[in-house]
Symmetry: C5
């Protein structure tokens, strides 16, 4: 899974039915170094939220078919999902 | 999912049957910064449209097996699909 | 799907049975700009042809499990397939 | 599979049920050269441990649907797993 | 599939059962230009051999779920497999 920061949200009326009723959050992957802030050189991506994440939070995102499997029911269009809100990162 | 701009379209006569009757749109991923214009340093890619997207629009694209699952019926050759037209991106 | 140019072909005697009888073509992804020539900075890759593509042609390649699904019968070792020969790209 | 070093661990209370009871380890991919230390230019990622790996160890990580399949039972949110602790790398 | 050179091998005692009895080879992807030597700027990766490849040989590697499908029986931890030894590359 990838570490990312939630940076906003996206609204789309015309979309795949499997995205209906789902929270589309804007995320940005983090810098290689603590404290894992959003890496401004990285393009923002859109992930479907599965844990109630809020703006600015450090989250785990999963991709590909795993992202789809996180959601039971209609899920076909999903290839990126937020699957955890990080409490602590320790070294 | 990835944010991209529709930049054109592609026609191919000789193709996998699963691409027949499908709209093949040229897309380019966006720059890391608002207002999310097409990033000219990025190679253009070809996505199958599932929501009636038009040239210049800001869209969400999904990849891999999820892109295939967006289309019922013959879909095997698809690994990139447009799954939403973005209305707003808010921070 | 990705835009690429066919740049050659590969012969391998010792290989997965699922590659037997299949045309292994050398491809190189294209530059970000028209007229979509092969991008010499990109590593060449090997795709299984499904549409009779020839050297120099502009083609669409699909990757991952979708590439496998393009071929009925033995297909397990395939993760990149040529699925269309491009006639026109319009903007 | 990819060579990586374990660099820490992550705790998340709010998460996909399929991550409950699983060890979430922080990993960093290695440099191109021996002795395969963590490559500081690479973003840290989070992998689910399946072999009891400890901090600093050189491990193999697998990604995508394969990472999911490593874990029987609830596994949907997993797209990166540690699947071996490396004893020796020989050339 | 990707062109790569076999550069060594890896031994791991503590590993996923699906890697037991399998040859874990160190590979490096090749340079963009003939004669396709190992590209020293690329990180080495670990692929499961399915064709009896030897050190220094030019091989084809396949990734993702396709790599898993190359091996019948226990295969879950595999996301990279050597599927051919290249005889010739012609342009």
């Amino acid at each position: 899974m990838q570490l990312a920061r939630v940076t906003g949200s996206v609204v789309a009326t015309q979309k795949s039915p499997s995205l209906t009723g789902k929270k589309l959050l804007l995320i940005r992957r983090v810098t290689p170094e603590a404290p894992w802030q959003a890496d401004q050189t990285q393009r923002e991506e859109v992930a479907v939220d599965s844990v109630g994440a809020g703006e600015g939070e450090l989250v785990l995102v999963t991709g590909g078919s795993s992202a789809r499997h996180v959601f039971s029911g209609a899920n076909e269009a999903i290839d990126l999902a937020i699957v955890a809100i990080v409490d602590t990162v320790s070294r």
